[in-house]
Amino acid sequence: MKKLAIMLLVAIMTCAIAVAACAEGDKPFAGTEITVYNWYDYIDLEVLDIFEQETGIHVNYVNFSQNEDMYTRVSTGAGSYDVIIPSEYMIERLMKEDLLEELDLNNIPNLENVLPSLRDPSYDPGNAHSIPYMWGTLGILYNTDMVTEPITSWNALLDERYAGSIFMMDSVRDTLGLALKVLGYSMNSRDEGELAQAGEWLLNQKDAGLVAGYILDQAKDKMVANEAAMAVMYSGDALYAMEKNDKLAYVIPDEGSNIWVDGMCIPKGAANKAAAECFINFMCRPDIAQKNMDYIYYSSPITQVVENLSEEELASTAMNPTEEMVARCEYYNDISDVAYLYDDVWMDILM
């Protein structure tokens, strides 16, 4: 009996010490490992080193270049990830299919740094599953040496003068979305007829020899190298390109466009959820968000970073669109239940 009591005592004391160490130590997850699945070229890699130094958590960093690719790997369990960074419509879909863990917001106090306008979004009420990482718009980046008058409409993509010098995106939602928009429909259309018209618009553009290609990550470098007159592009890539080539300009066309948010989420069954939340919280720290924004040129949703913008940056359509421009834009909604309609039209353009 006495022996048992002593053993119990020892056990309790050991536990107590361990708990105290967890609470007081600043590296509660030291020695653990998380896998972060992010867009290609979408972080300042130095940030990962800082995180590893500060927390002792080792980060496996892997990349994707399309939401749909990422979805395939997450939904089939092809890889196990602790943090993924999909766009809002994909977050909505992953939520619907119960593929995301609910976040413990107590572990992410830095959520209060996020701009109020981007907090508690319609696609994820209360930020229960996602914390905004970067946000931006979709627009046209053009070379002002080759295109002399300012572009205001998506119809510039049909301008014969720039035949063979227009890059479109290899991305079903963005490319079909802009065609829907130019025809006056919603970018979230579920109507077969509307989608068929959008497909026709894009096929006409392709068959007339206007399109230089359907690409994604290479477009910004081609624009920097003056290889094309215009390219459909996310605002962040446009900022990157404009930084390197001052003849480039970015516009959100008058018909309206897409506003997007990439959010940090934890997929169901993540091996190390608490450490993943620690990572998400870390990414919302102003100095870290600033580092990432300086490196990838996308707009950060962190208030302190926005307050730090220079006058030039505040005036930039790509970095800081006006409220009137944002009002013209719409979020993508999850359309996965009618995705086959999009797919059908898109394959006719792509193949």
Partner: protein, 274 residues
């Protein structure tokens, strides 16, 4: 230990990574997502867009094979030539590009062929204007030929090297001119090498993937790209089934070409490289 046991590691490897995946492909190709038997996956390919992709793939593969033969045969003939020293190092030069990853080689081609790439910069410096390569069928064809040419040269070289040169001397002694020696003696004797080379170029060319997307800026996609798209990006709930049925059709195409090879070259004299 019996000699036949030596192949066990290889057999296990093949079982795991060739046979098992093939069974999966077969299973998915003939079932619905619920697991019920169906042939409807194949009906999907009656849609015109698939026909366009297959025709484009076949056309480019045929052009690629023909170009490889036109370039490769004289090269092999030159390498197998009698008076040539250091043949071995020349053969290594042909093989050298194959030591590098296919994607790297294709990226190198992009750098060469880009609108402001190496070739066009040189042309511009000489005031010769600009040639649009990237984004055209020609660029894709160049990429295919560049990547698969060694597969044509090597089997033909092997056959020519093994050829009995006294036969050619006999033809010359009997008064045949060089053209006649080539057409009546050398060419017929090298048929096994040609068949082997043609098959080894045609097969990977018709199923090639990524090269076309990269060199055409995503404008021209081939059968391999289509399969990639169906599996990785399509939102069709049957995508694994449709993708598998398409993969199976490509596999049958390859089996047919192997059958063709066996018929023309029953003793597999064409180097037996595969």
């Amino acid at each position: 230990m019996k000699r036949s046991w030596y192949a066990t590691p290889y057999a296990l490897w093949m079982l795991l990574f060739a046979v098992v995946p093939l069974v999966f492909v077969l299973w998915y190709a003939f079932t619905t997502p619920d697991g019920a038997f169906t042939l409807s996956n194949f009906a999907e390919f009656s849609k015109p867009r698939y026909a366009a992709v297959i025709i484009r793939s076949l056309k480019l593969a045929v052009y690629c094979t023909a170009l490889c033969l036109l370039i490769g045969y004289p090269t092999a003939w030159f390498l197998a030539g009698r008076g040539l020293n250091r043949t071995q190092s020349l053969v290594v030069l042909i093989l050298l590009p194959m030591w590098m990853n296919l994607l790297l080689r294709t990226y190198a081609m992009m750098t060469l062929l880009d609108d402001n790439g190496v070739i066009n910069s040189a042309l511009a410096a000489l005031h010769l204007g600009q040639i649009k390569f990237i984004g055209t069928e020609g660029a894709v064809l160049m990429g295919l030929v560049y990547n698969y040419l060694p597969f044509m040269v090597l089997p033909i070289y092997t056959v020519l090297k093994k050829m009995d040169w006294s036969v050619i001397e006999a033809a010359e002694d009997l008064g045949a001119n060089p053209l006649r020696v080539m057409s009546r003696v050398v060419l017929p004797m090298s048929v096994p090498g040609i068949v082997s080379g043609v098959t080894m170029v045609f097969m990977p060319a018709v199923t090639s993937f990524a090269i076309s997307t990269l060199l055409s800026n995503g404008k021209l996609r081939l059968a391999g790209d289509l399969i990639d798209y169906i599996f990785n990006q399509s939102s069709n709930p049957n995508r694994w089934n449709i993708g598998s049925s398409f993969s199976l059709m490509m596999l049958v195409l390859i089996l047919i070409s192997i059958g063709f090879l066996r018929k023309v070259d029953p003793d597999n004299q064409g180097g037996g490289l595969w």
